[in-house]
Assembly symmetry: C2
Homo-oligomer: 139 residues x 2
DNA sequence: ATCCTACAATGGACAATGTCTAAGTCAAGC
DNA sequence: GCTTGACTTAGACATTGTCCATTGTAGGAT
């Protein structure tokens, strides 16, 4: 069953059919869905679920740290259920495909104090851009 | 005068009052503006300039590689005239302030071939997240 | 200096994404 | 099985960005 669902239950979440469906969609093999894609898949399982609920639920999962938001392009935010294994992203600039990657090195350590301008730095995102094999072949 | 304007002229751009104004706004000391902020400042100098023109002009500057698009959050894209010096960004998660930073290290070299999945990797963006001094003090 | 024409600007409709609200519904504890 | 407050709903609204038909104009040609 859904690890995500287990963790959410353990945090005192009221368990509703809608939330269960959203969690199940995210836990499927299709990762990095947009909010509307999540909604479309959720509707397949629970036709009366509303768009607002999907947005709310995704937002709550993000707040709880169970799901990551990925803003890769000018289009919609995407949701990444792989929140518990740190990773970065590799994105195809043509078709928008996303892969999780695990580069070497520690970018946080690469930012010296004099380049922090007094900020409290809490995280870093690394986004590689390029073309996936199929798009590169089509180009 | 405007370096940006000079470069654009040199590329055979037809020089119009609107484009001049947009270039001047970007070349000012206020960097990382959103498209609508650029429009607001442009209207101060040229009241009849339209929103579509600002969007078009910014898009053209990005295509020519003279300006960078920065998609930092769920809000609007921001435009960075500092396209000719490679750099990354440090962003306050509360107020949205952005600083240019120059970390050590080479993230592109940190992505081994077996983590590239056949992609042609052409670039990398590094985004540090945290709180700026004023927001940290207010927290 | 004036004219032509292709390129640019305009403004308003439209699209995509996300947020909010008021009212109804339901999970979970008693 | 009640009660209660959190959850869901539908749709209006907000923001950001794009498109298109029309009008205007920069810059070369005459």
């Amino acid at each position: 069953m859904s690890d995500l669902l287990e963790r959410l239950r353990g945090r005192g979440w009221r368990m509703t059919a809608q939330r269960r469906v959203v969690a199940e969609v995210l836990d499927g093999d299709h990762v990095h869905l947009t909010a509307d894609e999540v909604h479309a898949r959720a509707v397949d399982k629970l036709p009366e679920i509303s768009r607002a609920t999907v947005y709310n639920t995704l937002g709550e999962m993000v707040s709880l740290g169970e799901v990551l938001e990925v803003s890769t392009d000018r289009r919609a935010k995407r949701y990444d259920p792989n929140a518990h294994r740190p990773h970065h992203h590799l994105i195809c600039g043509r078709c928008g495909a996303i892969r999780d990657v695990h580069p070497a090195g520690n970018p946080l350590a690469d930012l010296p104090a004099e380049e922090r301008y007094g900020f409290t730095v809490s995280g870093v995102e690394v986004t590689y851009r390029g073309l996936c094999p199929s798009c590169a072949a089509a180009a």
